[in-house]
């Protein structure tokens, strides 16, 4: 049989199976291999909050969506070209994502009577045989048999073999999309070899078996090739948002000549940052698993007093616990960065699902007059830049900074061009010196022309001073209840934050003209979806532009002017309209929200529809 080779610009694959089926690993490995192959990638992991949800149930389905392409891939895609469903529950939950005519790879063993019942299918009507899947290219695999045959002469148990079936599928997909096996082989080696050479060998064998099965089984008549993406020259790797975040802080500490203190309390989806920090002792990182989030931020404040770059990351519930200590950091004017990896709330909400509903808390969720800078990352790779920028602003302006990420960015992966350290802006903390002393006394709240106070670190004679949460006298920092002084200090602290805007890059338009019918304004992880949707609408001839905010406080100084160049403003957000409120309050503009609060990212189709609605009805 002849196999045709077709070129495609991009492909979306969804790996879906039971929580224990290794879907996250398969997806990550394939994403990694695609990036190594030269494609741009975007990924969307989706897994239950329970570590071991009941086997075979709808609640226990874990999936990983990967899109790789020969152009700049901005989103994991609204629908998929290939769905791998290892059991009936995975099929039921993910079939709606599969395009008509798409490739559906199923594991027959996952469709026995019990699995069908657990997935809510009738035990008598198996979707694999009842004709309901005739719109798709159905590939039925008996994975247990295929895996068993490939590993027949090993001493591995049936259970162990069963757990490796995902490797066979990976091999098959590598053949189908013409990926050289070497990248996957290399990844499997790194993953397993040091721990268990026998397991590594078995996994490699399955990978190859799957690849050869594709070649010889005549299941497919077409093979696809996704050419490399045109990228600027440089060093590349794939990276998740949480990894990029921590690397941004390590790099910032390095550039500032400081050591990094990282405190965290376990919480989904921020824990990986703590895990990674704990592996970096050789890079002078000081990690601490604190007793709670209150302690994590308070310890960070202590470390900042001690002269380190101090960082903590958490999610909604932990961020709420940190509110009081954030107020203290505002009052003390010490540099700390708090990362809120947002998830669906309120309360415990949906811990593994993304949402953007902490924006107003980040901006305003403190008692008293307590403004602070708020920065948001737009893509997983951009978490690096956002972290670097948050650290830079915290250290140069002596202020706590809140960095907003979310579950989508934290777990998603991107292709990342590793920056040249020289190209990053310098970080210059305002160290205390003799110019801050008067009559032998150090003046901890004497400000420079930007309104920034000096940083004096314990251990240096002549600079002994006391700081605290009580209102302090201008210059000396001594406790003061003077009414005029309090208002003066409140205004000084606010002015310092407001003036950060003066040194920010002007807000630009991501897609389209700086004027027109409609501006789609977003922030955070909706970036890729908004760009794709606006690009699509412009292809259809609509006068729409996209503006994406990285700085939410202070806002870029030219933003109001820029927004006034548009007839309408649409603000798509994964919340009930937080940025919409902010823009209305700041600029008296008729910004209108487009809200989605489902613990899922926006889709391109949804945004296009919303844009069309606004343009049609004005």
């Amino acid at each position: 049989m002849e196999i045709r080779e077709l070129q495609r610009a991009d492909v979306v694959i969804v790996f879906a199976g039971d929580s224990g089926d290794g879907m996250q690993l398969s997806g990550t490995q394939f994403a990694h291999a695609s990036a190594l192959h030269g494609n741009d990638i975007a990924t969307l992991p989706n897994y239950p909050a329970e570590i071991r949800a009941p086997q075979g149930t709808l609640a226990g389905v874990s999936s990983f969506q990967l899109r790789f392409g020969s152009f700049e891939v901005l989103t994991p895609g609204d629908e998929c070209d290939v769905l791998v469903a290892l059991n009936a529950a995975a099929l039921r939950t993910h079939l709606p994502l599969l395009k008509r005519g798409g490739i559906l790879i199923v594991n027959e063993a996952g469709f026995d009577r019990r699995s069908l019942r657990l997935a809510g299918y009738s035990e008598e009507l198996n979707p694999l045989t009842d004709g309901s899947l005739s719109d798709y290219q159905l590939i039925r695999l008996n994975l247990s048999q295929l895996v068993g045959a490939a590993l027949a002469d090993t001493g591995l148990s049936v259970r162990e073999k069963e757990r490796m079936k995902n490797m066979f599928v990976l091999g098959l997909l590598a053949w189908l999309f013409d990926r050289p096996l070497e990248h996957l082989e290399q990844l499997v080696q790194t993953k397993f070899h040091t721990r268990n050479p026998e397991l590594a060998a078995a996994n490699l064998r399955l990978l190859r078996a799957g690849y050869h099965f594709g070649e010889t089984s005549e299941l497919f008549t077409v093979r696809y090739e996704v050419p490399r993406a045109p990228l600027p020259p440089g060093l590349y790797r794939s990276i998740s948002g949480n990894e990029a975040l921590l690397l941004g802080f390590v790099t910032a500490a390095h550039k500032a000549g400081l050591k990094l203190f990282y405190a965290g309390y376990p919480i989904t989806p921020a824990s990986e940052v703590l895990h990674l920090a704990s592996t970096l002792l050789a890079y002078d990182v000081y990690p601490l698993q604190a007793e709670d989030e209150i302690a994590a931020l308070c310890a960070a404040i202590g470390a900042a007093f001690g002269g380190h770059l101090a960082v903590t990351a958490t999610s909604g519930p932990g961020f709420s616990l940190m509110s009081e200590a954030l107020g203290l950091a505002v009052m003390l004017e010490l540099p700390v960065v708090v990362c809120d990896i947002q998830r669906a709330g309120p309360s415990t909400g949906m811990p593994t699902k993304p949402e953007q509903a902490d924006l107003l808390q980040a901006l305003y969720g403190r008692h008293g007059e307590a403004p602070l800078p708020v920065i948001a990352a737009a893509t997983p790779a951009e978490c690096f830049t956002a972290a670097y920028e948050a650290a830079r602003i915290a250290l140069q302006y002596m202020t706590p900074v809140v960095l907003l990420s979310d579950a989508f960015l934290a777990n998603g992966s991107d292709l990342w061009r590793i920056p040249d350290l020289e190209e990053l802006p310098p970080i210059l903390p305002p160290w205390a010196g003799d110019e801050h002393r008067s009559n032998g006394q150090f003046l901890p709240y004497q400000r420079d022309e930007r309104g920034v106070r000096p940083w004096a670190v314990p251990g240096v004679p002549g600079f002994e001073h006391r700081i605290g949460g009580l209102e302090k006298e201008h210059l000396t920092g001594n406790v003061s209840y003077d009414p005029q002084n309090h208002e003066h200090m409140v205004r000084l602290r606010a002015a310092k934050i407001a003036r950060i805007a003066e040194a920010l890059p002007p807000q630009t338009v991501t897609v389209g003209e700086p004027e027109g019918e409609l501006a789609v304004v977003g922030w955070g992880s909706t970036y890729g979806t908004l760009v794709s949707a606006v690009q699509e609408c412009r292809r259809k001839g609509m006068a729409v532009s996209h503006i994406h905010l990285r700085y939410l406080n202070p806002l870029p100084p030219n933003l109001g002017e820029l927004l006034r160049n548009f007839r309408s403003i649409l603000v798509p957000e994964l919340n009930s309209g937080h940025l919409t409120r902010l823009l209305r309050a700041e600029y008296l503009l008729d910004a209108r929200p487009y809200s989605k609060i489902q613990g899922r990212p926006l889709t391109v189709t949804e945004v296009i529809h919303a844009i069309e609605q606004v343009l049609r009805h004005g």
Binding site: H32, L36, G38, L187, T190, L231, P232, P233, G234, L235, Y236, R237, S238, E243, L247, V250, H254, F261, A263, L280, L281, A282, Y283, Y286, L288, A290, E291, I294, A295, C298, A299, I301, G302, A303, A304, F305, G306, E324, A325, G327, L328, L332, I418, P419, L421, P458, G459, V460, P461, G462, F463, E464, H465, R466, I467, G468, G469, L470, N478, V479
Partner: protein, 338 residues
């Protein structure tokens, strides 16, 4: 060789220029003075010292010290101190807290700091009442205590701070009083010299909201019969003429009146004996029971490694690697696109 003309530091060198603003007659004044005296005696340079506090009357303490200081938020001083001490292990860090700050809102941070055995000194000023908020019960208030929040008399069971600290794994546990300056100074001195987390409960009289709470341990008529001052290696003796001693019958402390020398089974204080210390910190005594309340260093074991030492040991294993940042940024798999 020139003469070294370094002047010996005095308590005054550790006092800031700020006016001390506790109520007249407050026990805090005496503690402040003794801390300054001890620091001068040990000649610790002021720039190497950091006082960290939470919220409450006692927590104003750092403002009155001419050292580095951080007046934090309610209950969180141990957490702030943990971050500071982790990155700056060479500093002398003192935590000033109270019965409400340390045992109510900040209880969690206190026990974890003790569990980690951070090398810091914790002075818990216990006045068995909330002072700054005008007199409500604290976690150490006694049953029956009438306050604005317990007009009918409290029915809660109080914490015994030294037992809490000991149970949390403190490697130095002591109890002393604001009215016994010599004892206060000697305990503070020993706490300062301890390597590890040193927990000192200081009975501190609040003349406004709980005056005389500790009178039976401070007034000369009642003190001898009710307060037992322990010394390492010495038998547990008390009474006006030191005519009584404690013995252990099994695990039960009993009072024996001395008639003819010390009994064979007299309880000799061994501050490093964890089993006996467990009994000693639990012993509260009362005039009714005839049992005294122990004061002094109840438990001290310097052999336990501190958090900082363990961290340093761990870091030394990585110190030789000297990896460059680019290696980290590149990760395990990377490639160059030309």
């Amino acid at each position: 060789m020139g003469e070294l003309s370094v002047q010996k530091r005095t308590a005054k060198d550790y006092a800031s220029d700020q006016e001390v603003r506790w109520c007249p007659g407050c026990g805090d004044y005496a503690i402040l003075k003794q801390v300054q005296t001890v620091l001068a005696e040990l000649e610790i340079p002021p720039e190497q010292i950091v006082f960290i506090s939470g919220i409450g009357c006692s927590s104003r303490f750092p403002y009155y010290m001419n050292t580095y200081g951080l007046h934090g938020i309610h209950g969180r001083a141990p957490a702030i101190a943990t971050g500071l001490k982790l990155v700056r292990p060479e500093l002398h860090v003192w935590i000033i807290t109270g019965d409400g700050d340390g045992l109510s809102i900040g209880g969690n941070h206190l026990i974890h700091l003790l569990r980690r055995n951070l090398d810091v000194k914790i002075l818990l000023f216990n006045n068995e009442v909330y002072g700054l908020t005008k007199g409500q019960i604290s976690p150490t208030s006694r049953p029956g205590q009438r306050t604005p929040s317990t007009p009918w008399g409290s029915f809660e069971t109080p914490f015994n701070p030294v037992a809490v600290a000991f149970g949390a794994g403190a490697t130095f546990v002591a109890r002393t009083l604001d009215r016994d300056l010599a004892h206060l100074r000697s305990v503070l001195l020993r706490a300062a010299q301890h390597r590890g987390a040193a927990f000192v409960e200081i009975y501190q009289n609040c003349p406004v909201f709980n005056d005389g709470a500790f009178a039976i341990y401070t007034e000369k008529e009642t003190k001898p019969e009710n307060a037992l001052f322990v010394e390492h290696g010495q038998p547990l003796l008390f009474g006006a003429a030191r005519q009584k001693c404690l013995v252990l019958e099994g695990t039960t402390p009993r009072v024996i009146s001395l008639t003819d020398g010390l009994p064979q089974n007299v309880w000799v204080h061994d501050q490093t004996d964890r089993t006996k210390a467990a009994l000693l910190v639990q012993l509260l005594g009362s005039p009714d029971s005839g049992l005294p309340r122990p004061f002094g260093v109840l438990y001290a074991d310097p052999r336990h490694p501190t958090y900082e030492e363990r961290l340093l040991h761990l870091r030394q294993q990585y110190a030789q690697q000297h990896p460059d940042l680019l290696t980290l940024l590149r990760g395990r798999t990377w490639w160059e696109h030309r």
